[in-house]
């Protein structure tokens, strides 16, 4: 599979998958070689493509008789980790900026965080069952459905909104941050993979974007401030 990365104005193909389900091709050295920084919306789309192909690869493994749990685990493990890491990367880097620049960002973000929770629930449920068992397939299926729904919606709404409203420079700068985040987190170790309350998430980001007049958020406080008008 190839993704197109702008390199000094030339569309250059970069191999994203080496066929073993791992993401070694997304290493820093590859990006350094490409010189230009990819746009964050492009990087998210790249991940989406990879997710679709990896779920399809699971279909192929499921079609084999007998099913090889070891092969399934080898395919699923990096996919599960990347689903978690991708969601967190979006929550750390993309959605806060969408909330700044997007036209309909609040609704898009609320939907996305809710979708991320559904994906996480499926991924984490799968981890509680033997690979290849019926409940494992059921949990993986739930993660896939939630992810498919999310990707389609995000591509139509959040990513499109961001392309319309964010400058190319910002998108590339965020692309660098997104790629760095993925480089630093090849697994979920050290990351909080728990569900997030969508409304609380949006509220917290919006408080950072538009701090109260008393500036109470930036100091690490609870941000209660004055209650005189309440």
């Amino acid at each position: 599979m190839h993704a197109l990365v702008r390199t000094l104005g030339i569309e250059a193909p970069v191999h994203l998958d080496q066929g073993d389900g791992l993401l070694a091709s997304r290493s820093r050295s590859d990006r350094v070689a490409s010189v230009a920084v990819p746009d964050i919306t492009q990087l998210i789309l790249d991940d989406h493509d990879w997710f679709r192909r990896e779920f399809a690869a699971l279909d192929d493994l499921q079609a084999q008789a007998p099913v090889d749990p070891e092969a399934l685990a080898k395919r699923w493990s990096p996919l599960a980790a990347r689903l978690d890491v991708h969601a967190i990367a979006e929550e750390e880097i993309f959605y806060p900026q969408l909330l700044v620049h997007g036209d309909d960002a609040e609704d898009e973000t609320l939907d996305a965080i809710g979708d991320h929770n559904d994906i996480r629930d499926g991924v984490h449920a799968a981890a509680r069952h033997p690979v290849g068992s019926d409940p494992w397939w059921e949990a993986v299926g739930r993660a896939r459905v939630a992810n498919d729904d999310h990707m389609g919606e995000e591509e139509r709404e959040g990513l499109a909104d961001f392309r319309r409203n964010a400058s190319p420079g910002l998108r590339e700068a965020l692309g660098q941050q997104f790629a760095d985040f993925l480089d630093r987190h090849e697994s979920t170790r050290g990351l909080d993979t728990g569900d997030k309350d969508p409304e609380r998430y949006v509220r917290d980001i919006e408080r950072e974007i538009h701090p109260p007049d008393d500036g109470s958020v930036a100091d690490g406080s609870l941000g209660i401030g004055s209650l005189k008008e309440r």
């Binding site: 750390e92 728990g194 569900d195 950072e208 109470s216 690490g220 406080s221 941000g223 209660i224 005189k228």
Partner: protein, 279 residues
């Protein structure tokens, strides 16, 4: 978000060192905020100044004290020397604990965390602030509103039939001294409960009657003895906050995380005539 937990401005809270993931931190912060907000009565009356941050140490009161003279060895002829007077901020920390099992449950998505000790700490912290504002904190150099009010303090008592008359006379006293309304009555929990549970003859709620007399609010105020009637016109009472109420990390063991609620503040009454205490 992450920057809020680890930002340079709140390093002293050491939140990043606590074994508390982001989701649990948010839940603890939210619980504290929700508990504190209805308790912080002083903030519903006083003007808010700040927050100046943890490094904010004093507030200028615009006054000076004469010094005996310039430094030794210099001529005092034609020289007048003064020292600025400031009101130093006081700080307090109220310790509390959270079970690590509760933190784990919060990470699992539990929506009913048992944070009883946090609830106790929020009550204690709010009472410290309320008490300092309304009744003073001598060791911190803070005079309370009730302490400096220059009027004889009428008795409010427990007989609610007398409340309209007492409050009306308090409002009249303020108005006759040139203190404009509307007026707020800040009252301790027992008195507040007496008011809201009382209907006067004809079924008219005492609460509504008193609000009509005041023209302003009736505020439930834990930590307040009796009540205070004060002008809402603004500028008479200044709450100068350095570090607004925050949660910091102390230490932990295998079972428990030790945290604390912290605030630095001072308070001053600019116009003592703007309030009257009711006993």
């Amino acid at each position: 978000m992450t920057s809020k937990d680890t930002g340079m401005t709140n390093d002293h809270l050491l939140r990043g060192h606590a074994p508390i993931p982001t989701t649990a931190w948010q839940a603890i912060d939210d619980e504290a905020r929700e508990r504190l907000t209805p308790l912080l009565a002083a903030r519903r009356l006083a003007e808010w100044v700040g927050p100046g941050g943890w490094k904010h140490s004093s507030t200028s009161i615009g006054r000076t004290t004469d010094l005996a003279g310039p430094p030794p060895g210099t001529s005092a002829e034609g020289v007048r020397t003064r020292q600025r007077r400031v009101l130093p901020l006081a700080e307090f920390r109220v310790a509390f604990t959270v079970d690590r099992a509760e933190i784990d449950d919060l990470q699992r998505g539990a929506r009913d965390p048992e944070l009883d000790d946090l609830a106790r700490a929020t009550r204690q912290a709010a009472e410290i602030e309320n008490r300092a504002v309304f009744h003073g904190w001598p060791a911190a150099g803070i005079d309370g509103i009730a302490d400096v009010a220059p009027y004889p303090a009428p008795a409010l008592g427990t007989d609610t039939d007398l409340y309209p008359g007492v409050v009306a006379r308090a409002v009249d006293q303020l108005r006759r001294n040139g203190i404009e309304g509307p007026y707020t009555m800040v009252i301790g929990p027992a008195g507040y409960t007496r008011i809201v549970e009382t209907s006067e003859h004809g079924g008219y709620l005492l609460f509504d009657h008193l609000k009509r007399i005041l023209g302003g609010k009736i505020i439930w105020a834990p930590g307040v003895d009796g009540a205070v009637v004060a002008s809402e016109r603004g500028g008479d009472f200044l709450l100068d906050v350095g570090q607004d109420l925050s949660i910091g990390y102390s230490h932990h063991d295998a079972d428990i995380v030790h945290l604390y609620l912290e605030e630095s503040f001072t308070f001053r009454v600019v116009e003592p005539d703007a309030a009257i205490a009711l006993l």
